[in-house]
Symmetry: C2
Subunit: 436 residues, 2 copies
Amino acid sequence: MSEPIGIGLLGLGVVGTGVARTLLEKRESIARRVGRALELRRILVRDTQRPRALSGLPLTTDPDAVLDDPAISVIVEVLGGEEPAHTYIRRALAAGKHVATANKEVMAKHGPELVAAAAARGVDVAYEASVGGGIPVIGPFRLDLLANDISQVTAIINGTTNYIITRMSQAGLDFATALREAQEAGYAEPDPRNDIEGIDAAYKLAILATLAFHARVHPNDVYYEGITSLSPSDFRYAEELGYAIKLLAIGKQTDQGLELRVHPTFLPTSSLLASVDGVFNAVQVDGDLVGRIQFYGRGAGAGPTSSAVVADVIDLAQRLPGEMPIRAQATAYEARPIGRIEDVHTRYYLRLVARDRPGVIAAIASVFGQLQISLASIIQKEDVPADGPNGESGETYAEIVFMTHRAHEAAVQQARQRIALLPAVARIGSVIRVED
Amino acid sequence: MSEPIGIGLLGLGVVGTGVARTLLEKRESIARRVGRALELRRILVRDTQRPRALSGLPLTTDPDAVLDDPAISVIVEVLGGEEPAHTYIRRALAAGKHVATANKEVMAKHGPELVAAAAARGVDVAYEASVGGGIPVIGPFRLDLLANDISQVTAIINGTTNYIITRMSQAGLDFATALREAQEAGYAEPDPRNDIEGIDAAYKLAILATLAFHARVHPNDVYYEGITSLSPSDFRYAEELGYAIKLLAIGKQTDQGLELRVHPTFLPTSSLLASVDGVFNAVQVDGDLVGRIQFYGRGAGAGPTSSAVVADVIDLAQRLPGEMPIRAQATAYEARPIGRIEDVHTRYYLRLVARDRPGVIAAIASVFGQLQISLASIIQKEDVPADGPNGESGETYAEIVFMTHRAHEAAVQQARQRIALLPAVARIGSVIRVED
């Protein structure tokens, strides 16, 4: 057996502790399987005195002690956030060390540059843990699917929002209650904005789309909407109409270029993604050769993330810096225009509250008609709670739901604005895109 | 860009044609993505004069012309069957060529020896296409899941039987009709025995279990039953009880060793595997770090298989023979005893036809009681078609279904024999294991 490979760890939070525990507790079985031991040599933390779940670890507060240690050939970055993680990764690569990172923000914003910087130094940056936790998704794109032309990637890649949505759907909770529950269960952070506003999913979609479409996709190219405006009634109507609501990340090749969007979506309950519940993630890929494939599992947590990080470390440990990359690198990007959200062409669900008067539906339907949006179905429920803007007493309100046939986003947004101005309309509840 | 890598192809059937087509039609995009062109130099066929879907191919009937060509560094084997495929693969490896194969029979029976022979020559044998078509399953076991201790692999890995079962379940067809339909659709071969008797699935389970449990699992270690004795009424009862029936391949670590079995199985309809229909495959893995993950897609066909074979070729083409293996090889097998089917401990469904007389259920239930098998539920339907052994006129028959709590296979088989001998019992319809 060759000599052990030295590992440096940046960060010892939940994920870092999981990685350290795995490297220590599984040292022998990993060495047996890999033919080489992995040795945790140095761990960067903010405070070496803080009580830790694991004792006797080689902690340091000095980044140089990790990044400049010549006996360390693989750096594991699990700090999270853009800085200083990005700077440390750059330094490690420049020093000729491999890097394994779980950092979606850094890889989404700087991935292609880091991959190129690594290649220039004869090392590699591995980031399987950055999307989908322990589910192998990066590896398949970097190798297994390389012969395919991929037409679409459709993913549930944020466990926090999927947990909240599942609770809203199954227990009828409102958003605030479901969020609080997720926070109490440790599935949502005290400041949950990155998750619930769709930003985290947009980072991950940028990473997947870069790989799937061999294009340089930046998070700024991704349109995103979060789940904060979903209401329990949206879930009730969805069920009535035969749909589930999911926060989907969609990357699609169209004639106009790449469509890249993250938003709540109506999905037929018969679709596989519709049954991905709780904190689970799923990534669905449509390729010209492989057809439709899907990967499913836990997208976060110490165990799943450690599984991916340690696999990356094993992958990197198979060769010394300077040897050729183990997995094919998509370094030759193809130029692909990025589509605008206004050009999306799909079906829509629109829920609104209106005064229950004759002619209301006709007025709304005529707006749709003027904009060439054809309607597939209308559901009206009477006597919903008012919440009208002026709280007129004696007035009854109806909740009305419209499902359109395929229409252009731009037209639907225009319809939304015009309908909101109709005197009989109290408020627009939601506009949600529908995918088949 | 480096010079092209020479590919030799053994076999030009449905899969071989798919591989050749992919290598030719995607030559440029693959070269761009991989940094190196793949050049199809020679193809072994039985008859060079036969009309082919692709013209101008470099055909030969001489295996030496492929296996001994010094300009060929990767051999793709898509002949199928044990011989001569196995011999050709050995020769190619001995000649210092990489091999990519889709051959489950060869890899199940000889995989570990071939992997060792390859390693001894500094080359590699890749076999992603041998299980699950284009779904990445071998790669994840060889690398992505390597840090995990895997407790169970549960898979639907034979598309032919899953298609037949799906038709029986959804359209109420009997087995013979569903099989004929599958043959007409091209999903079942004229001689379907390998598929419908569970042999193909047993090969694939041997391959997956070898990887998952780091143990040398031979197909002879796998207990298998096919789907030929399933009847439409089994599907009706399954639905009534909240289950789907699937031909599952199960590999499980137990205190008694490895449980390795392929058989029809009752699965709760809420489980993800229950909704894998038609020719689709799914592989579910339970790991200590990663939790439960699942891979889903088409398990056969020219496109999916080519997707996997060409990915393997790309993987192999990244380095010259003599350089180190790209993916970690599980060459260090751990000794694990193989459990016996008699020791399986699970729940059971038993369907039988009995004369509709007082005391019948009591007699049957008392057999279960004597053998310490406790019953969870009983369904009795009267007036089923007789088919009794003696065709007594005037006698009415009842179909009775028993669901047991967890019990030992040995006891259940004994119960089955004793119940079959009861005077009131006309025949045992099915005994099917139940998994949660």
